[in-house]
């Protein structure tokens, strides 16, 4: 990339390892800052979208059209006191929000934004994603336990069981993707979806059940409505983060929204061809990736405004008795399609 070469040319007076580290840090900033900005404006988008669905206007007081609302919210949370409950485990209580946010940001390292725009182009990218998304639950469990509060603990227990259950159909859906693409590298998975048919060459069509199950499991994995039993305002107050205030609470909030964006981006990369353009002839580019991610983010908000919360035992039934058998059957179907080179997706 030109910009990287330009910066390297400016820094020749530094030792080589320092330059490499500096460039990596700059690249990380180039990912984290837009992600954080998206998180901030996703909260505003959520309130606006749900407002319009419920025939309200939504926030419109701070700045033009309410566009400065996220900044006002962030300032408010920054100024609030972080209260540590007296019976809590102080260290784990304060570490838990960081444990929740860390994996949500670290997973972005392997997401391909464009053919060349990727921080770490590693061969086991899909596995890395799966491993990191399964770690976010520690923030929730540790928060629930360290708070030393009944409601927080109940929320943590619910969340642990739910995330472990939905990780399995999610993992099997990814197995289907890697059978279809023949690679664990996310860039190569996108390239495997390139074809003459535009959007009909993408994996969402041959892997349709896995696509639906992956996204629904993603909603469950991020603890979003209708699977938000770990927060369950009407049942257990606010679940695992009931004792948190100020910036510690804001970190949980950031983690949840960063995870939503991550799941949306991943669904776009794995099933909707990432940066590929939907119509043959129109150039590919990062804007397609952003548009597809935005589409799935809108689905998240739409779900929240539309569906009532699942009951806990119904969540378990959906994950274990419906999603799991469907994914296993469809992995066999996909394998058969790959072995027999079913056109147009798996033509030899």
């Amino acid at each position: 990339m030109n910009i990287v070469a330009l910066i390297e040319a400016q820094l020749t007076w530094l030792p080589a390892p320092a330059v490499v580290t500096l460039i990596i840090v700059l690249k990380i900033l180039c990912i984290v800052v837009p992600v954080m900005g998206s998180v901030a404006y996703l909260t505003l988008a959520e309130r606006k979208v749900i407002g319009f669905i419920q025939v309200r206007i939504g926030p419109n007081r701070v700045g033009p059209l309410g566009l400065l609302q996220p900044i006002a919210d962030a300032l408010k949370l920054l100024c609030k006191e972080v209260i540590v409950p007296s019976g809590s485990n102080r260290f784990l209580f304060l570490v838990a929000p960081v444990l929740a946010l860390g994996p949500a940001l670290a997973a972005w390292a392997v997401i391909p934004f464009d053919a060349e725009l990727i921080l770490a182009d590693i061969s086991a990218g899909l596995l890395y994603i799966l491993a990191l998304t399964s770690l976010g639950v520690y923030g929730i469990i540790v928060a629930g336990w360290a708070s030393n509060s009944k409601y927080a603990f109940l929320g943590a227990m619910r969340s642990a069981a739910q995330i472990v259950s939905y990780e399995i159909p999610m993992g099997f859906a990814l197995v289907g993707v890697l059978v279809a693409a023949g690679s664990l590298n996310l860039g190569q998975i996108v390239e495997a979806q390139r074809g003459g048919l535009g959007l009909f060459s993408w994996f969402w069509l041959p892997l349709f059940p896995l696509f639906v199950i992956y996204f629904i499991s993603g909603v469950a994995e991020t603890n979003r409505a209708p699977f938000d039993v770990s927060e369950g305002e009407s049942e257990i107050v606010a679940g695992f983060h009931v004792e948190y205030a100020g910036m510690a609470f804001a970190l949980f909030f950031l983690a949840e929204y960063a995870n939503m964006i991550l799941i949306s981006g991943l669904t776009a990369v794995l099933f909707l061809g990432g940066w590929l353009s939907p119509i043959p002839g129109i150039p590919d580019g990062i804007h397609w990736f952003i548009a597809k991610t935005a589409f799935f983010l809108f689905l998240f908000l739409w779900f929240r405004a539309t569906f009532p919360r699942y009951r806990y035992d119904q969540i378990m039934r959906l994950g274990w008795k419906i999603f799991l058998p469907i994914t296993i059957v469809w992995i066999i179907v996909v394998s058969a399609m790959v072995v027999w080179n079913v056109p147009p997706w798996f033509a030899a």
Binding site: V142, F153, A160, D313, K321
Partner: protein, 200 residues
Amino acid sequence: MFEQAIFYIFAAMLIFSAAMVITVRNPVHAALFLVLSFFTSAGLWLLLEAEFLAIALVLVYVGAVMVLFLFVVMMLDINIAELREGFARYFPIAALVAIVMMYSLGTIVGPENFGLDQVAAAQGHAADYNNTHELGMALFTRYIWPFEIAAVILLVAIIAAIALTLRATRQTKAPNVDHQIAVRREDRVRLIKVDSEPLD
């Protein structure tokens, strides 16, 4: 040089957290230290270019097994004083077992079996080396039978574990979710046509 520094940092963290697992009083802290030791050993495996195994370790042990472990440990009401009761009495036996295990470990993986004269030094691979691919090839060609037999044994264990929970007749009352979801409007609501009566 840089790799060695990373190795020693991870190794020190691994030994520290493994020691903390057995010495801290709080079982939840012990479980979290076990998570840390899994993490650091995954880091060591990454240094050995075994990225598949390293990520699988994090995915399986940290992401699933330890979550369930924490789940159980947090629910238990463990009395620490009771746990410590027999410590002094059983210490000699424990020490004996520990020494025997250390000795057998030492004889198996000691320098006389794993020295540089027995095993050639590991070779670094180029950046395009794919550990996952190599592992898959080995598992599904040369080691296919051991691999399949291990899979069947695990399956048997899973079925046996589930069968054990179903041994006693179920006493608790729980709603049947399949039944609840299968309910249609016709099962619950009856529409009755009532003829309107003329006003007198």
